[in-house]
Amino acid sequence: MSALQIALVGNPNSGKTALFNRLTGARQKVANYAGVTIERKEGHYTAPSGRRVRVLDLPGTYSLDAASPDEAITRDVCLGRHPGEPVPDLIVCVVDATNLRLHLRFVLELKALGRPLILALNMIDAAERRGIAIDVEALSRELGIAVVPTVAVHRHGAQALIDRLDAQALPAPQPHPVADLHAEVRRILAVAVSSARDSAATDQAIDRIVLHPVIGLVILAVLMFVIFQAVFAWATPLMDGIEAGFGALGEALGALLPDGVLRSLLVDGIVAGVGGVLVFLPQILILFVFILVLEESGYLPRAAFLLDQLMLRVGLTGRSFIPLLSSFACAIPGIMATRSIADPRDRLTTILIAPLMTCSARLPVYTLLIAAFIPQRTVAGVFNLQGIVLFTLYVAGIVSAMAVAWVIKRLRRDRSEHALMMELPSYRWPHARDIAIGLWERAMIFLKRVGGIILALTVLLWFLSSFPAPPDGATEPAIQYSLAGRIGRLLEVVFAPLGFNWQICIALVPGLAAREVAVASLATVYALSGNEDGLSAIVATQWSLATALSLLAWYVFAPMCLSTLATVRRETNSWRQVWIMAGYLFALAYLASLLTYQIARWLT
């Protein structure tokens, strides 16, 4: 017997993905539809009869009259005209039993296609709790299709559906032309559903507090603070542990192998590269625990509601807020978090400005330069001058992000009104199983797609920094004789107007692996062999203040993180966006450093 090919469709918030998780468990494959950034999720399970069932989880949609690229995918697959997908043997339409008034209209649209169709009446338990009585037989009779109640979040909540799919082939419904879908929905509801009381009372009570103009914002601010703290602080011990672990592994390997190219490649290239990939995982996982819980519970769209107007003024949307906030810890989880922005235009703008948020990897560079050049002085009685400079660097990032978003809004060809029209779903308890599956997916996407690029680039940078080896009797540090050193010397021509000396230029090359690496590289260039404590003193005596300020300005803007660019490549599925981002950031950085250096030199 050939595998049964089924497609899950339904309105957003119908519990479709939870049902998908229930049916397929961890047997899922997440990819992208060809040429677009829309996620394609497919899984499979084996029915009691032994038949293999392949399940495609189509993007949630309100209507077959698609309003966005992801809705168009769902429409094309249902109509059997998507080039890359086989026509499904059966469409499983998932509806929220507590929200039939909205969801049944789409069922009627699907029925009109005349393809085999079954209705999964999901969250039937929540409907019972809310006093909504549904006559399943009457509903099935009036719709003219099979209806199976499901509770996707319960262990056996999909058993009835699995059994029904296994029993016999489901016939295609007789499409009756319906003039007014809404009138038909009302007619069916009148026959099959009775509601004892106002079913949304609990949500209304919570929303009165959560969406309150003052209390709601306070709750949001506290939540954001906790998330920011968690991503920033809780991840640090784990990241330190990973770094220490890989450092120890590198040393152990180094002790086993003879000195030479192989040892250097393994220790400084591959082990350091794998460690450099894994070190991002704690932040990504911690951030996504929060995002998934907020999304599942129904809070995320409410946060977007509260902040929409603020973000709209600069050409973003309320949904951009959490990804941007996360980017203060690290742009990589931030960019991955833009998946919660449904509108592709808003999502792209958010991705493009995310690297302007001051990530934690810039701190070592900032700390070094501020400690070396900015005196410990108290300003206006209470403020620390070093603190003020650090704060200014953060503000510079935020202000320029807003400015860039505004410019993108002006420049883009598509000036059409993009709607918010966002459903605020009922509050729900998030389920650990769905969170765990979601986390697993994020981790795999990062490790497989982004990790490979990061690892390859790390090995490339190792190669550039190690070859050719210094000649016999060389007196200067090895890096000066390497390709990286030569590239750095060449770059000096480009960066001289910014006040960068050749030592800085060389350090910028390996610094592309991660911003904080630049500090270690500077120490190497100055032949301190890992002694970073002495660096501050050297920098303070050998560099001018103008050069230091210029380098600070450079790090506010410059696309100095190849991992971020790799993530953008993965998330936008386009090298073009990567080049646009790198290009505009480089231009901004060059301009800011040039101005800073020339003005500072003129003043001092």
């Binding site: 309100y62 209507s63 009259d65 309003a67 507590t98 929200n99 008034r101 909205l102 209209r105 809404h182 106002d198 079913s199 949304a200 949500d203 209304q204 929303d207 009165r208 969406l211 103009p213 003052v214 709601g216 914002l217 769209p301 977007a304 509601f305 509260l306 929409d308 107007q309 603020l310 709209l312 009104e417 709607a419 918010l420 029209m421 966002m422 459903e423 605020l424």
Partner: protein, 83 residues
Amino acid sequence: MRLSELPKNLPATVAGVVDAVADDAIARRLRELGFVAGEPVRIVALAPFGGDPLLVQIGSTRFALRRSEAARVTVASADGAGA
């Protein structure tokens, strides 16, 4: 009256959705979301920063609509005024 002008918490009934531009995709989507003549509708909350967007309850479903979107929906308040 338009839904964007409806006072908070005043029950009303949808009269229809008006296209703001030719072939208005937003108006079409509003109709698909259930903003059709006869449905009871109410504004349940206003966002901070200028009261935009609005939280609109239709049936037991809540939608956040920006004012420009809500302006496409015409409503009659329950006491019959302003239709």
